[in-house]
């Protein structure tokens, strides 16, 4: 990956509290795994940015390398790679994702579970 692309990816990751690299858009996910993570973020009432990797071959190839992760979706929160669909869903189910999202968005973590 060349430096310019790396810097571009870094800027996307650092530029948003929560960013989801996915296939399609949040309204029209093009893949069930991406749709699952969109649904999880919706349930958490999270504000987040999405990047449609199907619309940008450089980002698609680059993020595989950047995250050392061969598949999409890829969820980043506060600049850290959280995981793909399986991890995100497991963390959500275990109640581990909400505090991370709340912290990123500067929200008080409610005591009730999602």
């Amino acid at each position: 990956m060349d430096d310019q692309l790396k810097q571009r990816l870094q800027a996307i990751v650092d530029g948003h509290k929560i960013v989801l690299f996915m296939k399609g858009t949040r309204s029209f996910p093009q893949c069930g795994f991406s749709a699952t993570v969109v649904e999880v973020l919706k349930r958490l009432e999270a504000e987040y940015e999405t990047v449609n990797i199907l619309a940008d071959a450089d980002v698609r190839q680059g993020m595989k390398e950047y995250s050392n992760w061969p598949t999409f979706p890829q969820l980043y929160v506060e600049g850290r790679f959280v995981g793909g669909c399986d991890i995100v869903r497991d963390m959500f189910t275990a109640g581990e994702l909400k505090p991370i999202v709340d912290k990123a968005l500067g929200r008080e973590s409610a005591t009730q579970t999602a």
Partner: protein
Amino acid sequence: MVEPAVLEELIRTKIEGVTHVAIEDLTGTKDHFQAVVVSPAFATLNRVEQHQAVYRALGELMAGPVHALALQTFTPETWAQKRRLT
């Protein structure tokens, strides 16, 4: 297309101490799989690192022949726990 047995063999040879592997062909097309991998080697890794270890074991297969891989990783302890629960 990839035979599930090929994936299992790679996982067993490239990841240390694997005690259980189950690969399921989700679509019957040999490109969408679900995998459960159990190894004590996962104990010192976080979830992302555990999945990265499996992806690394599968190497180039992840860059084309395998279109999707739903993945669950466990240590023998967490695997035993899960089996008690389900």
